[in-house]
């Protein structure tokens, strides 16, 4: 699924990275616990989270994730934005809650759950 489709499905606002909306993502992970995210390597994944701090972007960076969706209209800080831009990441924010956002993406065809370890 392209990041552009994620944005449409979630009716999300682009916070940064609008140059990269045509990148493909193959799996997704929804969590507020970053160590849980770090436990499962997936290829070209999107992270859905309600957590807002710089370690969210760092975690995504370590995992080579290409997009982060902030649910419940959470607003990332300027520091997070700078980090995301440095790493060519797309940041999106949606009004939807975590459950609904994940459900929409899954129903939309983003079901990949490939572990690369």
């Amino acid at each position: 699924m392209k990041i552009r489709q994620i944005q449409e499905l979630l009716d999300a606002e682009i916070v940064c990275g609008d140059d990269h909306l045509d990148r493909e993502v193959y799996s997704a992970c929804g969590s507020d616990m970053m160590s849980d995210v770090l436990a499962y390597v997936k290829d070209q994944a999107v992270l859905l989270t309600g957590l807002v701090n710089t370690q969210v972007v760092r975690t995504a960076e370590m995992m080579d994730m290409v997009c982060i969706v902030f649910v419940r209209s959470k607003v990332p800080t300027q520091e997070m934005l700078d980090l995301a831009k440095e790493n060519d990441m797309v940041l999106l924010k949606t009004k939807k809650r975590m459950y609904e956002a994940c459900g929409k993406l899954y129903a939309g065809g983003l079901v990949g759950n490939k572990t690369a370890k």
Partner: protein, 141 residues
């Protein structure tokens, strides 16, 4: 054993949770410049990142060294924190002594040490209560 081809040294600041992970970011960049495969880079940087976070949460910071050999990468983490009372327990997923304020930041789920083991080919922990913890991890190339 042959000598390390490249060595990297970092001081991990224990005061600032926001900047935790900066050493791992640097390691990631250096490994990329050396042409190491993305899968190996990911393993090394995640293991190191979890280690760095642990040092900030539990030990007030510490030292991190990354040694790159012909056939493997070694990560050494040294701190002078309180030490780990029960390493066997600490290695279990979900077991944590992290305070609530750390949990609200997305860490302290008891996955740090298990994740470090998961992504490395070898991991040794040497911890003395009241003195500190020394961890050596190896990732084969």
């Amino acid at each position: 054993m042959s000598e390390a081809v490249v060595t990297l040294h970092f001081s991990v600041d224990g005061e600032d949770f926001t900047s935790a992970g900066q050493a791992s970011v640097q390691v990631k960049k250096s490994l990329r410049q050396l042409g190491i495969s993305p899968e190996i880079i990911r393993k090394v940087s995640i293991a190191m990142y979890e280690g760095e976070i642990n040092m900030v949460i539990h030990a007030g910071g510490g030292e991190a060294d990354v040694l790159i050999y012909e056939d493997h990468i070694e990560i050494r983490l040294d701190d002078h924190g309180p030490g780990i009372a029960n390493i066997e327990m600490a290695m279990q997923e979900g077991w944590s002594t992290a305070p609530d304020n750390i949990r609200s930041l997305g860490f302290g789920a008891g996955m740090g040490l298990p994740n470090m083991k998961r992504y490395t080919d070898e991991m040794k922990i040497n911890s003395v209560l009241g003195e500190g913890t020394h961890i050596v991890m190896k990732v084969n190339l």
